[in-house]
């Protein structure tokens, strides 16, 4: 009756390389300059979902738009490890940029279709000329069945609806999973061939779009098993790297709250000297430290991509752990800031909303635990 547990592979390098440290410093400098809390707060209720100037610097000048794209397609040829560092910084600033949607999700999907017409779009995406979006709901999770909401006819015309797509507003191209005449397929569709509606998003710094396609012309990127694999790899990459965004967010919440409690006085004492608050921050610190190990492990596994089951395991562990840790950090930040944390003018709420939305994005923690059950042979109860 005993079944063997998975063998334990070597743990990837969980530290940051010098190159990664340099990349972090560069991104951080840009964000400090152009994307402080006041700038983010000032933008969220405007019509422009993200600051095009900021994205020009990050995406084109720093090369983040094509970070994961091989040099042969005009990208930086970096790995998931570097993308993870970028996401830590973007998460720490709740920066409204299309990095996750375009440079991670859409680029990863396109990389899985690199034999087809993808290189052209990849090149423009990598150059920072355009952004693209992967037309799945932000709630799509690795291991999900291939989407059936959009159907493609033999002429490559797509009809259907996809809701809650991230970074589709402002994108030039859509990578659309569709049920084609011969099964699963991925198509490239020009964004202006789709009708886009923008629902009100809980996460004010990450707008969503509902897409309607009505016979929109698509270019086939991949079909069958290749389409499945490309989409799955994109979702695994997105979910695994999202953990680093969540880590950056949690770290900001811990740092900001710790700093605030060192300054605020009540009862003639620094509030941060009260033991119950100290213990809560110590626990939170430990969660963030642990989240960092989990997120780095996922990034390392994605970068190496040796054993697909190990990649899936690392991603599931990271999402299952880091998602709730980030929500907890944001909730503690609001609570421990007291009244000021409940105000619109203080940025804590932006982090709370992002953390809660991220918890649902690309698979909830419970969804990832269920995936893990299969991966590590801890099956559910029968019946």
């Amino acid at each position: 009756m005993t079944t063997a547990k998975r063998p334990s592979p070597a743990v990837p390098d969980l530290l940051y390389s010098e190159v990664e440290d340099d990349l972090r410093a560069a991104v951080r400098a840009v964000l400090a300059d152009r994307c402080g809390p006041a700038a983010v707060l000032g933008r969220i209720e405007t019509a422009e979902p993200y600051d095009p100037g900021l994205w020009k610097v990050l995406g084109a000048d720093l090369g983040l738009a094509g970070l994961l794209v091989p040099e042969e397609y005009g990208g930086q040829g970096a790995s998931a490890r570097e993308a993870a560092v970028v996401l830590e910084e973007l998460g720490g600033a709740v920066a409204p940029t299309p990095f996750l949607g375009s440079a991670v999700l859409a680029a990863s999907a396109l990389l899985g279709c690199a034999e087809a017409g993808a290189p052209d779009l990849l090149g423009r995406l990598a150059a920072g000329e355009v952004t693209a979006a992967l037309a799945v709901p932000l709630t799509a999770a690795p291991g999900d069945a291939f989407p059936q909401g959009v159907r493609a006819d033999a002429a490559g015309r797509l009809t259907g609806r996809v809701t809650s797509v991230v970074d589709a507003l402002g994108a030039a191209a859509l990578v659309v999973p569709a049920a084609g005449p011969d099964g699963p397929a991925l198509y490239e569709v020009a964004a202006d061939a789709a009708a886009l509606a923008a629902p009100v998003s809980l996460d004010l710094t990450r707008p969503l779009a509902d897409l309607t396609l009505d016979g929109a012309p698509g270019r086939l990127l991949a079909a069958g098993g290749a389409a499945r694999a490309a989409l799955e790899r994109a979702l695994l990459t997105g979910a695994g790297l999202l953990a680093s965004e969540q880590l950056g967010l949690a770290q900001w919440c811990l740092d900001e709250t710790t700093g605030y409690l060192k300054q605020r006085h009540q009862f003639g004492r620094v509030v941060g000297s009260f033991q119950s608050l100290k213990h809560r921050l110590a626990d939170l610190w430990l969660e963030v430290v642990s989240a960092r190990a989990a997120a780095r492990n996922a990034a390392g596994a994605l970068a190496a991509w040796d054993d697909p089951a190990e990649v899936a395991l690392a991603v599931a562990v990271a999402q299952a752990y880091v998602s709730p840790a980030a929500v907890h950090a944001a909730e503690e930040a609001v609570q421990l800031h007291g009244g000021i944390g409940m105000t619109w003018e203080h940025p804590a709420h932006l982090y709370l909303k992002r953390a809660k939305a991220d918890e649902i994005a690309l698979g909830t923690p419970g969804r990832h635990r269920r995936a893990l059950a299969g991966l590590v042979d801890l099956p559910a109860a029968a019946g």
Binding site: G268, V327, Q335, G339, I340, W344, I360, R367, R370
Partner: protein, 408 residues
């Protein structure tokens, strides 16, 4: 605490019984038939008949009757279709200002303020909290300086509901910075129409603004509007706050699945496609917690009904804050893609909190305030530990130092 009326069993010694209350209500209805009497006139007449708050003194809207008899008056008048004073709209006046004015006001103040307060003709708000004085309310900085027969007030207050509709405010301000903080505070009634009063909406994380910031610049308050002695404001404020806690902790028996558990249980029942095994167990855990909190509140109510209130009431707010936060968090997660959306961020100014008129995201965000407003959960835990369990207070360094010398 004289007349603060914090418990249900106190009442005057006048010996007024249910029959007399009922008789007076009928007399009022006969004299001022609700169908033909204007709302304001009816409410004034009700006040004058002593049926506003029967446990208040005669002449101040009451009959010196036991507090429990208020229900008799209310029922009699409601049955006849009489208008009420819209208590939710004037909750701060009724719940906090009125008992304080009764307990500490001069005869002139009682006569001037209580009647229009009760009828709702004059709305009240509370100017207590400050940006730097939240949990440590006694550390407040707003200064009131004597100038002839007036006090001149400068400072900033925050978390003030109804400030934009209020005619009057109860206000505490520092009148002596050279003594320890609890001893240098004085309690005033502040005229919100004074030109030095500026009210700005304070937008919250939900997008709306239930509360205000109030900036006080050279506001002149006549000494006749001081409540209690100079320097005695902290004690007066304690009476006010005790009434707030009673109001928050009290309440009557509620049916099962009241509160935040309702919407999430309904969603679970209505949308089987959202169900997962993990969410199921979390929902059941919280359902149990909600049911137990309901039973705990009911037990407190039963204790009060037999006149033996226990300390259990202190815990209700803690439980509710935690439950509201966990349930709304679960609800957003259960909703999945729908949880990524929000109804409307438009800045509006609601009259009161409505947890159930809006969506799950609103509940999630608004519930975060439940562990901050009206005493943070941290302060409530201190109170339970010290007053209920008798654990010693932490070393305090701020009680005997002049306020001006405290670190801040």
């Amino acid at each position: 605490m004289p007349g603060a009326g914090g418990t249900g069993s106190t009442g005057g010694a006048g010996g007024v019984g249910a029959a007399e209350v009922r008789e007076r209500a009928r007399a009022l209805l006969a004299a001022c038939p609700p169908r033909t009497t204007g709302r304001r006139d009816f409410l004034r007449a009700r006040f004058d008949a002593g049926l506003a708050w029967v446990h208040f003194p005669a002449g101040l809207g009451g009959l010196d009757a036991p507090r429990a008899l208020q229900a008799v008056a209310d029922a009699e008048l409601a049955a006849a279709g009489a208008p009420d004073n819209d208590p939710r709209r004037i909750g701060i006046g009724l719940g906090m200002a009125a008992p304080t004015i009764l307990a500490y006001g001069t005869p002139e103040q009682r006569a001037r303020f209580l009647r229009p307060l009760w009828t709702g003709e004059e709305v009240w708000c509370q100017l207590f909290s400050e940006p730097g004085a939240g949990s440590d309310l006694a550390g407040l900085r707003t200064r009131a300086v004597r100038d002839g027969g007036d006090w001149v007030v400068d400072g900033q207050k925050v978390w003030t509901s109804s400030a934009h509709t209020a005619r009057w405010a109860i206000l505490i301000a520092r009148t002596d910075p050279d003594v320890p903080k609890h001893r240098g505070i004085t309690y005033f009634v502040c005229d919100m129409t004074d030109p030095g009063v500026e009210v700005r909406p304070l937008r919250q994380i939900t997008g709306e603004a239930e509360f205000n910031e109030v900036f006080l610049t050279g506001v002149r308050i006549p000494d006749a509007h001081r409540l209690g002695a100079v320097g005695d404001g902290w004690r007066v404020a304690q009476a006010t706050l005790m009434n707030e806690r009673v109001a928050i902790g009290g309440g009557s028996a509620v049916p099962r699945e009241s509160g935040m558990v309702g919407p999430v249980a309904a969603t679970w029942r209505e949308r089987p496609e959202l169900r997962t095994p993990e969410l199921h167990d979390r929902l059941l855990r919280l359902w149990v917690d909600a049911e137990v909190a309901r039973l705990t509140a009911e037990r407190v109510r039963q204790q009060m009904a037999v006149g033996t209130p226990g300390p259990e009431g202190s815990g209700l707010k803690l439980s509710m804050a935690r439950l509201n936060q966990q349930l709304s968090g679960l609800e957003v997660e259960l909703l999945g893609e729908q949880g990524l959306r929000y109804g409307d961020w438009t800045m509006v100014r609601p009259g009161s909190v409505d947890f159930y008129g809006r969506d799950a995201g609103y509940r999630y965000l608004r519930a975060k305030g439940n562990s901050i407003e009206g005493g943070t959960s941290e302060i409530l835990r201190n109170i339970v530990a010290e007053r209920v369990l008798g654990l010693p207070a932490e070393p305090r360094t701020d009680k005997d130092v002049p306020w001006k010398d405290l670190p801040r």
